[in-house]
Structures are given as structure tokens and as C-alpha cells.
Amino acid sequence: MTAKTTRSSKTQAWRYLFPGVLAMLVFVAFPLVYTVQIGFTNYSASNLLSEERARAYLLDQADVNENRAFGFSVHPDGDAVRVLLTPQGDGASGERYLSPAIALAKAATEPVAMQPVAGNPVLGAAFTLRQTIEQRSALMALRLSLPDHSTLIYAGLHEFAVFEPLWQAQTGGALKRLADGAVYAPNRDTGYFEDAKGERLQPGFKVGVGFANYARLFGDADMRGPFVSIFIWTVVFAGLTVLFSTAIGMTLAVLLNWEALKYRTLYRTLLFLPYAVPGFISILVFKGLFNQNFGEINAILDAVFGVKPAWFADPLLAKTMILIVNTWLGYPYIMVLCTGLIKSIPADLYEASAIAGAKPLTNFWRITAPLIVKPLTPLLISAFAFNFNNFVLISLLTDGRPDYLNTKLPAGTTDILVSYTYRIAFTDAGANFGLAAAISTVIFFLVAILSLVNLKLSQSNDPHKGGH
């Protein structure tokens, strides 16, 4: 192969790969990196904008001075219009002002300089009210400037009024309040415009805060309490889910592999059903079935035992319910996995053990279990990692509730880490994206560790990749 063809095949390769790799980079890799970055900022509902946009927002704030208002009329002048300002009020006297021809269709950027008029200028017929209304949005964009440099803006269908900004830009990005001359300088550590006494202006802006979110997470006793409880529950939830699903799924796989049993295909199909039903539907179905007053499950429990457990109000019962539902959702997956793995065990092993007179349980513990445990382990770790972040289940079933009392941020007894971050970011009014992203970063590291362990395990299983 010559050098030239190598090069062309290389560019060719990129042409095929580009869309897929780009999609992964933009929508999978970049969000991960960006999350980590947001974790080091104070990005939240009160610090949403960049410093420039927060400053522009404040500089745009203005009071309309109703004492210095003019009536106006709009007169066509060819394709453009001229605006005539007349002093307002009964017996009002004073200067009238006329604008040069303005093209209303074009977005006005610079203030239009008004000239005083003497006598009665010749103008086209003034716009009717209806025509004025039609041009309203163009008129609202207009800035008219009087010879004394005050600026007028549209202040209603009948008047233009002097527009007095509240803030004036100072050197170094500070802002001066024109009413009392107080100066607010941007504090790039806290992300607010502050005066000498540290009083803050709203809105703040987005700045890097270093490890402040992490310090809050691990240092602030008010935060750490719920965070640690939620972390423990997340691990317990994922661990017990995998344990229960594996116990049921593996038992079923072994049972359905028993050739003496009839109707095995029928059983397998029926038992596979929970996996085939869309998760969001079956989770919501359970939410309804477990309802304390109208649910079928409590109807049955009430009829048989005379109890009506409060599945959604009691933390322990809520956790039990979550585990029941997730085991229902999860065992078919393990069953299918184990069925596949058991099929690959050579039949002569069982023949040999039958000759030795072994009981079924002995077969399971001595042959089946040892042979499938190694290929099964990485898959169970994947299942653990998946449930560790099983946002859909928690979000749809309990939404993390019942909540802990006396926490600053909403935290639920059934929340797992991802649903907790979701609530901090998207359902709390403070929308603390920075803190949520910091927790997400912690989750990344945990998932990354699990994935690496998994990769090592599955590579050592794969005979093609060597290992040992």
C-alpha cells in the first residue's frame, strides 16, 4: 500500500465515523465534562446569568418619569414616518419636538434626535388610533432623544415619557445607583454586585466557586446528614435489588432448565412479561395498586388481614414497596441471563453427577453455581450500577417521598443520589444546579470505578483477550 492510499483511506474512515463519534462527543461526553465544570460554579436560579448579562439586565432597569411625558402623533412621510411630540396636560405650554423621517420597519438602535419646532410644520395626516396600535411594537423599540440629552420611550398609546435609568456603569464593571449614588462592585468570589457593606443586588451572576459545593456537601452538617443517609439507602437499594432479583431469577432459570418439567416455554414467556412492559407504565401501575385508600393491594390486605399499610407515608414501608416493585421489574432480566449461561454448561457434567447419585441441590451448588458465577459477576455489577442510578423508578413511584423534616433542601427518605440531584436542580425553587452537578460528579466517580472493575472482570473472562 502506498503512502497516498493510506492517507485517503484515513480521511475516508473519518468521513464514515464522523457523525457517530460527533454525536457521542456532543451528547454523551460533553455533558459529562460540562457537569463536572458546573459542579465548580454557583450556577443556580439566583446566579443564572453571566456577569455581562447580569450587568446589562441591571443597566436596562429604568423608571419612567411620568412628570416629563409628551403626547405624540405619528405622521407619514413617504415610506417613513415623523413623530411629533406635544406637551401634555391642560393648558400645557412649552416646546414641541419633531423627529426626522424614521423607517419604522427597521429596528432602531440609536436614539433619534428630536428638533424643536416653531409654528405649524406641514405634515401628513396623523395616524389614527388603529394605525398607531398596528405600529405599536415598532414604536416601543424607538428611543427619542431631546436636545437636553434626556431619552424618551413609548409609555402608552398616547404618550412618550422620559426614561431614567436606575443604574450607571462605572469603571471596573461597577454599577452606581443614580438615585443615591451608592456604588455596587462585582464580587467575583460570591457572584454578586455588592456595596461596601456587602449588601447584594439581585440577580447575581455565575462564577467559579472552587470546591465550595463539595465543602458544603461534606462539611455542612445540615447537608451531610441527608446526603449520607441517601447514599446509604442508594447502596442498600441497589444491592438488595440485585440480590432479590438474582435469587428469584436464578432459581427460575434452574427450574425452567429441568427437562422433566412440562410447559416450560409457556412459563418462560409469562415470567418474561414484566421485562416487556414499558417501565414507565408498570411503575405507575404499581403506584396505583399500592395506593393506601384506593389501591387493590390494600383492598386485598384489608380483606384478608384487616390492615391498610401506608405505603407512601411510612419510610420503611415505602422502601419495602420500592424493593418489591424493583424485584418484579428486575428478575426476568437475571432469569434470561442465567438461562443463557446454564445452557452453555456441558450436559455430561450432570450425567456424571447423576451416576454418582447427587441430589438436585448438590448439582446446583457443586456444578451450576460455580460455573455461572464468573461470567455472571460483571453482569450483576452492571445491574448494580444501573439500579444505583435507577432514576425512573424512584421518580415515578415515590418521587423520593416521604421527605426528611427540617432540611434546607428537599431530601426524601426514598431518594437515591440521582433523584436527589434531580430534585435539587429541577423541582426546588432555588434550582441549585452547581450543587446538583457536584453530587453528579461524585456519582460519576462511583460509576467509573464500577465500570473499570467490570471491564477488568469481563476481560479476564474473555478467552480471546487473554488475562491469565
Binding site: K10, A13, A29, V277, F280
Partner: protein, 296 residues
Amino acid sequence: MAVVTGKSQRWRIVAAHVGLWVLIAITLFPLLAVVSISLRPGNFATGSLIPAEISLEHWKLALGFAHTQADGVVVQPPFPVLLWLWNSIKVATISSLLIVSISTTAAYGFARLRFRFKTTILNSMLLLQMFPVAVALVAIYAIFEAIGGVIPWLGIETHGGLIVAYIGGVAMHIWTIKGYFETIPTEIEECAKVDGATSWQAFYKVLLPMAVPILMVVFVLAFIGTIIEYPIASVLLREEPNLTLAVGSKYYLYEQRYLWGDFAAAAVLSGLPITLVFLAAQRWIVSGLTSGGVKG
């Protein structure tokens, strides 16, 4: 297999059948109950699994017709279920088509062309896909808000944005298609090239027609994956007419407005077709399972 069977064998078989049927009963109970509830009159009624009185009111509402109660009160459908279903199908179809086309070309590149860092790229794509999307929701929200500032039809609250967000999930599909391409002998394309076909023609006219079955499989898998997707959709879509089914369904079961019967009908209506597609595609899904994919 000639295994010596003991006396206890028969009893063990009976016990196994009984045990399995008990488990099947528990497994199927929620699914049967929801069908039964959808046929019961009223939103708070409890009763036997086989409804004593069959009422189609919830089904009427789910299909978008108003329902007149016995006392003459007209009940309007609480939520636009069919619109949500249409939104879901639209988003899932378009994004699956894009996913298939993107992953097919990438898979061809990985299977047939030689370039540096091939294994590294493949492995890192697979590793990246292990990170759950629910963890990056804050960033995804911020990204689409920024995109929406420049291109409004790709921002928050748009189906365009949601479709684009789903395109990222291609790594598994690239692996699947790549595996299939590798089973097709390279000689076939080489013959085409000898006959004067360009590399693109060899891919488009020779390899692609042979890969149609696997492309259908990937399409179905991507379709199911996107139609049941909840986290991203719940962040990007908030307004009622925009919602997909996965996001909208939960509004039936709010404490203040508990529409159990209406939900049941909507759930059966929308869940049944997806379940049937899933069962039909089960064979391929199961073979994909052992390679480590977990359904959401």
C-alpha cells in the same frame, strides 16, 4: 439424558408446577388488574379482578371522546393521550432513523476501514455509554437552553431538541451492526471494487442491502429505547401538548387529581403495542442482553 429418577421425582415436579404458578400469578396480577380497572366504572372503585359491571368510560376518555355520565354531566378527556402517543411515536421514529443511519456508517468504518486508535475509540465509546444519562441532566438542560438561544427549534420544549439529544445513544448499536458486518466476507465488496465501484458504492449498493435484517433490529431496539425514555424527556419537555407518553402518564396519579381508572385505560392503550413490539423483538433483545445492556 438417562438420569436415574427417584421416587420423590413426581412430587418435586408437582411442587415445581405449583410454585411456578404462584409466581406467575403474582407476576401477572398487576397487569391483569390494570386491564380490569380500565373497565370499571369510576376512578375510585375497587372490586373483583373480573369486573361485575363493564364500563367503557375510561376507554372513551383515553381515545379522546367526551363521556356523559348517568347524571348528565359531560366529562372531557383529562389529558390528550393520543397526542402524547403521537409525540412519542414521532420522536422515536425520527430519532431511530437517525440513530440507524449514523451507527451504520460508523459501524462500517469500524468493521472495514483501518485507522489508528480504532480499539481505543471503540472501548471509550462503550465506557462512555455506561454513564447513566440521568446523572448529566443538569448539563443537558444547560446545553439545550444554550442551543435554543441560537436555533429555537432545537431548544428546550421542542421535539427537535429531544430527537437530537437521543442521537447520542449510538454506541451499543454501532457494536451490534459492526458485529454483523464482520460476518459478511470482505471478498464481496472487493469484487465490487474490482468491477469499478467506489468505496461508497461498495458500502451503499453491496453491503447495505445485505445488512437490512440487522438494521431493522437496530431500528426496533432504538425505537423501544427512545419511546420508553423518561429522564431527558422530563427535563426538556414541560408543556402539556408537547409531552411524550412516558412523561405525561404520571400526571394521572397526582394526589390532588387521582384518575386511576382513566390512567388504567391510557396505560393499556399505550403499553400494549409497545409490549407486543418488544415481545416480537425479544429474540434479538435477549441476544443483546448478555453483552451487558440493561433496559431502562
